[in-house]
Symmetry: C2
Subunit: 209 residues, 2 copies
């Protein structure tokens, strides 16, 4: 949005300036946090990738969110009275920054002027998050698996600027992300290949329409 906003710089400041902020490292598949208690926690991915996961009562896994560098997540973004158990898992070795929402409104001991910047920069990160969520909703409101797949591929294609791109998910996880049955999705992918809409080599996709 604002061309002058430098996420990397912001994160660098984050790391160094305020004592109310924690940074932790996680190995692949480690649990980063759970959304059970309401601690008003805000998290920012500094490196790596993490997924927000829900298992429902039928054992269906859904990837609610997939977060990469500079993405924000945390239970503060969820309504208190959700019935679901949500948890965040590191998909790669990851570095995550933690602070609580209250931090925004209270001064830290050092009285760092970092707080002044924090709020305004956070608005920027929140905005990005809203854009991501709207994209997700665009996908999920599509009526058919085919439409979901093609919409998602379209996004990935535009991000990479090319007609070819590598999926950030395994096919198993892609199905969970699009909230559809894996085998049904594989079937639809095969049809898309057979009908000449896409090419597919491993997890590399090429659009041919």
């Amino acid at each position: 949005m604002d061309a002058n906003f430098d996420k990397e710089l912001f994160i660098e400041k984050f790391k160094n300036s305020c004592n109310r902020i924690q940074i932790k490292n996680f190995k692949k598949n480690e649990i980063v946090t759970t959304y059970i208690e309401k601690r008003n926690q805000i998290c920012i991915v500094l490196s790596g990738e993490v997924d927000l996961i829900r298992y429902d009562s039928n054992g269906n896994k859904t990837i609610i969110g997939h977060f990469v560098v500079s993405d924000v997540f945390g239970e503060v973004f969820y309504p208190a009275n959700t019935n679901n158990e949500l948890f965040v898992i590191a998909r790669k070795n990851s570095e995550v920054l933690f602070f609580t929402y209250d931090t925004l409104f209270t001064k830290c001991r050092r009285n760092c002027d970092f707080h002044k910047e924090l709020t305004s920069n956070l608005t920027e990160l929140f905005l990005d998050q809203i854009i991501n969520l709207n994209l997700r909703i665009e996908l999920l409101t599509k009526r058919t698996i085919r439409e979901k797949i093609l919409s998602y591929f379209d996004i990935l294609s535009k991000r990479s600027i090319r007609r070819s791109f590598t999926l950030p998910f395994s096919y198993t996880d892609l199905a969970d992300f699009l909230s559809v049955d894996r085998s049904a999705m594989m079937r639809e992918l095969k049809l898309l290949v057979d009908e000449g809409f896409i090419k597919k080599h491993g997890n590399r996709i090429t659009l041919t329409f």
Copy 2:
């Protein structure tokens, strides 16, 4: 979140303090804005209700978002390269506040100190919006119509604190909101009534489980 934050007050300030901000009134069914151009517009509902609508190539209507007082919306929250035509329609007579994202970073002529507050308060509104979007995603990722209905009713029930509540939508629109076929949804609603899970009188629902 922050108990001290007073949305009404914030909106009142918004209205009166800054010349970069526009307020417009819309009658029911009037188009509030479209998401075609990229003007980085941010809108806030001051009164009434508005819906963000998408029609896809098959003529399927989807209610992408339903916004009420103090909700934020606008094309700034959407990625630039979306293929869809989205537009916002007033569902009731509504009052909507408009400004551009740039407003946050430039001083207005009056040099109002309103800008200082604007950013930090906006963070609050953005946070609320993220919570709403996450709720929406919760619904949309549910695998069956029944689960979607019950999850949504559960939310409405908790909001009204009672087991009874009035739907904010017509049933036609509810189907569009849950992104399912209307007749299929009506069928599922009937089953839920027959099986004793809910009672249904007009657009008033009572949970009985």
